[in-house]
Symmetry: D2
Subunit: 139 residues, 4 copies
Amino acid sequence: MPLTMDKAALDAFLVEQFPQVAEEFVIDAVEENALKLRLVVSERHLRPGGTVSGPAMFGLADVGVYLAILAMIGPRALAVTTNCSIDFLRKPAAERDLLAEVRLLKLGRLLATGDVLLHSVGRDAPVARATLTYAIPPA
Amino acid sequence: MPLTMDKAALDAFLVEQFPQVAEEFVIDAVEENALKLRLVVSERHLRPGGTVSGPAMFGLADVGVYLAILAMIGPRALAVTTNCSIDFLRKPAAERDLLAEVRLLKLGRLLATGDVLLHSVGRDAPVARATLTYAIPPA
Amino acid sequence: MPLTMDKAALDAFLVEQFPQVAEEFVIDAVEENALKLRLVVSERHLRPGGTVSGPAMFGLADVGVYLAILAMIGPRALAVTTNCSIDFLRKPAAERDLLAEVRLLKLGRLLATGDVLLHSVGRDAPVARATLTYAIPPA
Amino acid sequence: MPLTMDKAALDAFLVEQFPQVAEEFVIDAVEENALKLRLVVSERHLRPGGTVSGPAMFGLADVGVYLAILAMIGPRALAVTTNCSIDFLRKPAAERDLLAEVRLLKLGRLLATGDVLLHSVGRDAPVARATLTYAIPPA
């Protein structure tokens, strides 16, 4: 199954549909059933001790899976997250961006599920992992 | 097991430790192993279609369980979330605050787990549910 | 929304559709959006140390939510679990049956989600909690 | 960090500690922070329609992560599962064994977390994914 939206199309969609958060995210790569999304970490994402906040990590994983799905099926702004499980494994490095590596495990007619590994750019050990399921509205 | 921190103590802790987000949250009630936390919904929490964003709901549940634990064991700013599962069930009402009803299911020496139901104020049907586990640092 | 299947109808369904496991389970109560299911604990459910095995607890929660859904929508043997999160909180008492208290949080056209608290009969503290989502096939 | 238990040591541990289930499982491979465990599917694991039951898949993932942890830290029969999230993605092939590919994401002093992909032997598409966290007792 080929890509329906390439990186340029996803970039444009992000700016148009999510103007509040588009500037925080950079799509680093997109291919069939996989996508890399980077959170440009700034003051607003930090918590006491200099760590990236849980909601910021959740949001990165959530947007990453969403864009990976749209890359395959095209722009449907109404796909909604139905479930997320997330494990926080290590403290992220505060002075580094956070990279989400997304892999779609299922892209069904009604439900899509993606796995995400998050790590600080330049570090191997994952700081978190997440799985998200989206309900896909009829085309 | 009696409360170690009452509502006034938790209010003060929130302002001191989380100045970035303290104004978004109101502690509506606290008792043994239970707490009600309200998200004062404003423009920054909304997404296209007027719905409250996923990260905002995650953050509400996360802070709610954290405060419920601190109410029991006292202020330990370094307790960290290790795991969260969250199910998004219905679209929240955009023009209403979001209420998290937290119940601690376990308060162990090393791990604490809390359940959360989220609903729009004045509406019965839950918009989300979440369970969060925290690792508790040695006293 | 009234019940579509009462306790007698669910009992019969369980025996007919799940002969391998029907004898392990007793439906203790059923009402709108809620059900109590008991696991009759025997040797086969135990693990070293006399505790009830994780798969046995998972199965109890899974069947409990399934029956709670069927009680509302009628017999559809093809509803399938899409997601489960489960937290193991305390060691169950080996010499006691395990009771699952199920509450449906959402019963949509395509997805249904139920929450479960598990505890040893006669003990208050929960040994586990779980949330399960089922995909419902078209009627 | 080298392996503390090799395949032969894990095989022996499984037989000794879990005689009830040891014959159902085959360790196909073990290396640092990774393990492949196979469920020898038989009648007892099947459900109506010929699919492998949810509890059987949960049990496979649970034992797989447990053995992957023990391979690293040595035999500690008292490590306990604290949390599992599992997504059921596709119907497994009933006539084929089920393979769990386990990868440890974190091996801390108190908590260890592993990711699992399950697929029917000879098929690429995953039938389920799971993440499990274990609490590790003091050495």
